[in-house]
């Protein structure tokens, strides 16, 4: 087993006390898995590939995605379902017919389909942290179960999506069946009573199920004038991960890391210093004069310096 500096410390402690049982899921994971390439000073980083603005999120581009992730030094990813699933919206096919075809495919995917993709990712040293799928009323119960099953085979520990409170209520029974979590993803629309945008709305969502966790989006929460640091202090035990990015307050524009109002450095140091098992997924939507891969490098460097 290869040990990280922090992992080494834990083993020493266990040896001194004579009690080797892991104290947390994070330690148990660390004792059975090699370090991920984007585990930096105890903070697990990853990427939401939305950052590759020029790359259509299709299964045909998955090879290019994996090459870019490796090039950017990323070992963990939040994988949108469109990187995995086929499209059925061919010319002449109605939206309803395409939706029906996608549902049928999800209920009976080709044998070994998800395992094949898992191998692609494993071979590249990339772990899927979460599977991004926008559940809505068009999903049947069987389809939701099938989506969780597919995500689980990919290695995902939860499913995340941009749904609101109403859809969340319906999703309550599902993640527990699969030993996974639902990640609630906040946006910035404070005027929509169904949306996750305010702290109160997120607390309401989290109260629905112990299997619900936050995927706290620092960009959107900052734009919605939320208190990211306070939220992390108060709810860190219900946060699975963060979409780490920067924006200006008061529904302001997206910005390169450090040029907006999101307290990225403070958040990452809180995760590092408290050893919270919160995954930091980089995600940005600011425009850049550089190619996307170079911009990911720059933003990742900013985060690495924050936890150095």
């Amino acid at each position: 087993m290869t040990l990280t500096r922090r992992g080494f410390g834990k083993v020493l402690l266990a040896g001194v006390s004579g009690f080797a049982a892991p104290r947390s899921a994070r330690e148990a994971f660390a004792q059975t898995h090699p370090p991920n390439r984007s585990l930096i000073n105890g903070v697990q980083f990853g990427l939401q590939p939305f950052c590759y603005h020029d790359l259509a999120m299709t299964r045909e581009n998955r090879g290019a995605l994996i090459r870019r992730l490796v090039r950017n030094g990323m070992g963990m990813v939040e994988l949108h379902a469109t990187w995995v699933e086929p499209r059925f919206n061919d010319p002449g096919v109605s939206a309803a017919a395409a939706r029906d075809s996608l549902r049928a495919w999800r209920l009976s995917p080709p044998a070994g389909y998800y395992r094949g993709i898992r191998k692609e990712l494993d071979d590249a040293g990339i772990a899927v942290f979460t599977y991004y799928v926008n559940f809505d009323d068009s999903y049947t119960d069987a389809e939701i179960d099938a989506t969780f099953e597919g995500a689980k085979i990919l290695g995902a520990r939860g499913c995340v999506g941009s749904f609101g409170l109403a859809v969340s209520r319906r999703l309550v029974p599902f993640p527990g069946r699969h030993g996974m979590f639902i990640g609630l993803h906040n946006h910035d629309n404070l005027s929509d009573p169904d949306a996750y945008a305010s702290e109160a709305s997120m607390v309401t969502g989290l109260s629905m199920s112990p299997d619900f966790k936050m995927m706290l989006d620092t960009r959107h929460f900052t734009a919605a004038d939320g208190d990211c640091v306070g939220f992390l202090e108060r709810h860190h035990d219900r946060i699975a991960g963060m979409h780490v990015g920067d924006r200006r307050k008061h529904n302001g524009r997206s910005a390169p890391f450090g040029e907006g109002d999101a307290p990225i450095i403070e958040l990452l140091r809180m995760v590092r210093d408290n050893r919270w098992p919160i995954v930091a997924l980089l995600e940005f939507e600011h425009g850049t004069l550089r190619p996307e891969v170079e911009e990911v490098d720059l933003m990742f460097d900013y985060c690495k310096r924050a936890v150095a």
């Binding site: 259509a56 045909e60 010319p91 809505d136 929509d192 524009r253 997206s254 425009g287 550089r290």
Partner: protein, 247 residues
Amino acid sequence: MAWLARLAPNETGAGGREIYLRECAVCHRDDLNGAPPEIPSLAGVAGRRQLGVITNVIRQGAGRMPSFPNLSAEALSAVVEYLRTGESINAGETAKSPLAMKYRFTGFKKFLDGDGYPAITPPWGTLNAINLNTGEYSWKVPLGEYPELAANGMKNTGSENYGGPIVTDGGLVFIGASNFDRKFHAFDSRTGELLWETLLPYSGNATPITYQAGGRQFVVIAAGGGRNRPGTPQISGGTYVAFALPR
């Protein structure tokens, strides 16, 4: 870009669907699916927007969408109800417009293949120079690329592009325009040879300007983006980017 266009007999009824077809379907299409990302889908819009917001957008317009002050309150309600429930309630005589044409355009539809690329042979977008003395083309070059195709060796395909050029005394043509590669280009005005290109933060769907200040010449373009391909992140912004010509 090749487009599919069709005319259909105009609707003269006063029901919510008839009003929608008459006033809205030219952009959002008969089936409500629009042509994302330029024209958003209205399918299930009531689940994404509050009814008051929908009403205000129709009444006041939003972005490139014009306002519809010609719609009476009853007609507006009927359209919103149709968007919300699919039911076509009757808005009464006040919904009928004296300006209604006999035929209506059924909406913008790109002629695309199953992968979302133009279903015609490239080039899929060109920059053209026409000799005004003869009326003949002086040169024609592809403008724009699809980054994922270019990465696989399929370069200079041309692409959908929106934005005008400027021509300088020195024989340079500056143009952004290309939707997907967010590049800003300089061509030789006599030959069409690409002399220089660089990335913009968002695609430059605008016409650049040039000016002199302090004895130096600048070229500026507004980069706003927002016309990305379906399936790619729909980012947009609003940035002016200035370039200074070498001293």
